[in-house]
Amino acid sequence: MTAPRTLYEKLWDSHVVAELPGGDSLLYIDRHIVHEVSSPQAFVAMRESGRKLRRPETHLGVADHAVPTRTRGGEIPDPQARAQVAELEGNVAEFGVPYADLTGPEQGIVHVIGPETGFTLPGTTIVCGDSHTTTHGAFGALAFGIGASEQGTVMAVQALPQGKARRMKVELVGERHPLIDAKDIALALIAKIGAHGAVGHAVEYVGHAIAGMAMSERMTLCNMTIEAGSRMGLVAPDEVTFAYLKGRRLAPRGAEWEAATAYWRTLASDPGAAYDEIVTIDLAGIEPQVSWGTSPDQTLPIGALVPSPAMIADPSERRETEKALAYMGLRAGQPLSSVAIDHVFIGSCTNGRIEDLRAAARVAEGRKVAAGVRAIVVPGSAATRALAEAEGLDRIFRDAGFEWRFAGCSMCVAMNEDRLAPGERCASTSNRNFEGRQGPGGRTHIMSPAMAAAAAVSGHLADVRDFA
């Protein structure tokens, strides 16, 4: 009789190649996603050492971070971005890595196209030089971000030394308001446990709310797990997962599909499996969330007031709050719903999927972006963009005054042409409100897609429940 195991332990045990003398294990890596920004140095290391990729077909290349999203297909105007994409294209050709071409139907953000193509599968280990690799854990995969040096190791030997994480269970209980989104749940969790509350843990999300969530919402939850400090978010694969994957280009077919799903059904945590930490979130108590500071745990319900440092007893927390308010240009005690915005960004690996665009479009439909606000909608992938256009969402957004873009990371990360100017304020569906994340001196409030659309049509942070 073996002891009951968690999903994390099953994924771990099934990938141990060897135990290392110091207590870590050598883990087999099934899948590696490669983007233009974090991979150049890994390919250089391969070339300089004369190594080949052990299994080229287990990698997937795509350009997403540096690419412009205003137009697609012509020469990339920025010479550095152009060179970086060209370097990726040269590298994938030289090393035989399958590549989703920038102008092709499968291009998009790494964490959107992995699932869309069926490259992401339950029961696998998936790495990428990108911290939001946590996203793929929504499929019951052990997925985590790594650095460029580790990418080189994976390319050459298909394995990485890893220490075992502690197990954290996040249990969602109660019923949520219909306009409360996975993003609100993620932000409420991070506000509760802190931006480093889950460091060292693999986080598994459970509860009947999870069973009722589409893959897009599960991905949003797992994506944001890194913002609580954990490299791995997990949801056990179930019928929703299988229905999503069936028929995807790289998903197994026929008899292999049957064998695969039979195996995937065994991955859920066993009854009675032990966790090191358990966090319970009551969904009934969650209101739409917005971040007010420069760390994702500096988040409050939209009805709240900007915190007052004078009322904070702990000196270090007081200092952090003062620093954040100064950077964000906010007044203590000001209602969050009164904060005026300059920009709205709807997109990213957190919230650039079709369900996210639908939620934003429901608020935008028949309304207009407020005067003086620039609002952009950036689908997470070319496939998402095409589907949204087939549903007429692009028309809804354009009629409301939003720009409708091509797929890419866009304004989530200030390394392409979409950036905030110093002092500009953005309502954003991305994942990080860090200083300078959307441009030096830029101010970011993170929130759900519906909340961002509500802010766009209001000209200030707003409560989506007023638009129902």
């Binding site: 060897a18 290392l20 003398p21 110091g22 207590g23 870590d24 050598l26 087999y28 920004v37 974090s38 140095q41 290391a45 300089e48 050492s49 190594r51 052990r54 077909e57 540096a66 920025d78 971005a81 599968l121 029961g123 030089g129 990108d130 911290s131 985590f144 971000g145 790594i146 650095g147 460029a148 040096s149 580790e150 190791t153 050459a156 030997v157 394995a159 030394p161 220490g163 931006a195 480093h196 460091v199 890194i226 490299r231 790289l250 599909w257 695969a260 760390s295 270090s316 200092r319 952090e320 620093k323 200030a414 390394m415 950036r419 990080r432 860090f434 200083e435 300078g436 994340r437 030096p440």
Partner: protein, 209 residues
């Protein structure tokens, strides 16, 4: 490629009295368009060190005469959180940082440090406050990877932990990939044979090829 062996680093320590210094602060995203890994030191903490006109910001610790060259950083909790960009570590290394001390680190950053000859020293929160005071008073810090000890002038030595394999690799300057190929190549082969039988769908493309 073999790395420079690491044993100890001795010198001044710069105190950064802030929590959540993420890798976007350490290495702003726009510089990620640079594809080289050498020469990134000038971008370390760029938007803290320089104002919008490119002038040094007075008062930022790494702009002070005393701490400009400090090989040790002591920082608040959650140092190196956020993005996985290894450029953050290459930039620190480029400006001469060889040890970082905090009560918690971003995990990917921590792992990147160990592969680039920077020792991430994890200590309890109470110790960090004491060490920041010592750093600001100009105390000399020694990070000793062999002994796993942080020694600070006028204080008892403090023990820290580093995963044993990584410690040995850093001390010897070993390359991780070479190590795995040489020691575990046969285990990886055996793993793949087993997995191919049990989960053939993970090898489909190669079967077709």
């Amino acid at each position: 490629m073999p790395n420079q062996p690491f044993v100890t680093v001795t010198g001044s320590a710069a105190a950064m009295r802030e929590e959540n210094i993420d890798t976007d602060i350490i290495f702003p995203a726009r510089f990620l368009l640079i594809t080289a890994r050498a020469g990134l030191g000038e971008y370390a903490f760029h938007d803290r060190r320089f104002d919008a006109d490119g002038n040094e910001v007075p008062g930022f610790v790494l702009n002070s005469e005393q701490f400009r060259e400090a090989p040790v950083l002591v920082a608040g909790a959650n140092f190196g959180s956020g993005s996985s960009r290894e450029q953050a570590v290459w930039a620190l290394l480029g400006r001469g940082t060889r040890a970082v001390v905090s009560s918690s680190f971003g995990e990917i950053f921590y792992s990147n440090c160990l592969r680039n000859g920077i020792v991430p020293i994890l200590l309890p929160k109470g110790d960090i406050a004491v060490l920041m005071d010592a750093a600001e008073s100009g105390a000399v810090f020694t990070a000793d990877l062999e002994a796993l000890e942080l020694r600070v002038e006028g204080q008892p030595p403090r023990r820290f932990e580093i995963p044993p394999e990584r410690r040995m690799a850093m001390l010897k300057g070993w390359d991780e990939t070479d190590q795995i190929v040489n020691q575990f190549g046969a285990d990886v082969d055996a793993f793949e044979q087993r997995q191919r039988k049990a989960q053939p769908w993970l090898y489909q493309k190669e079967q077709d090829a």
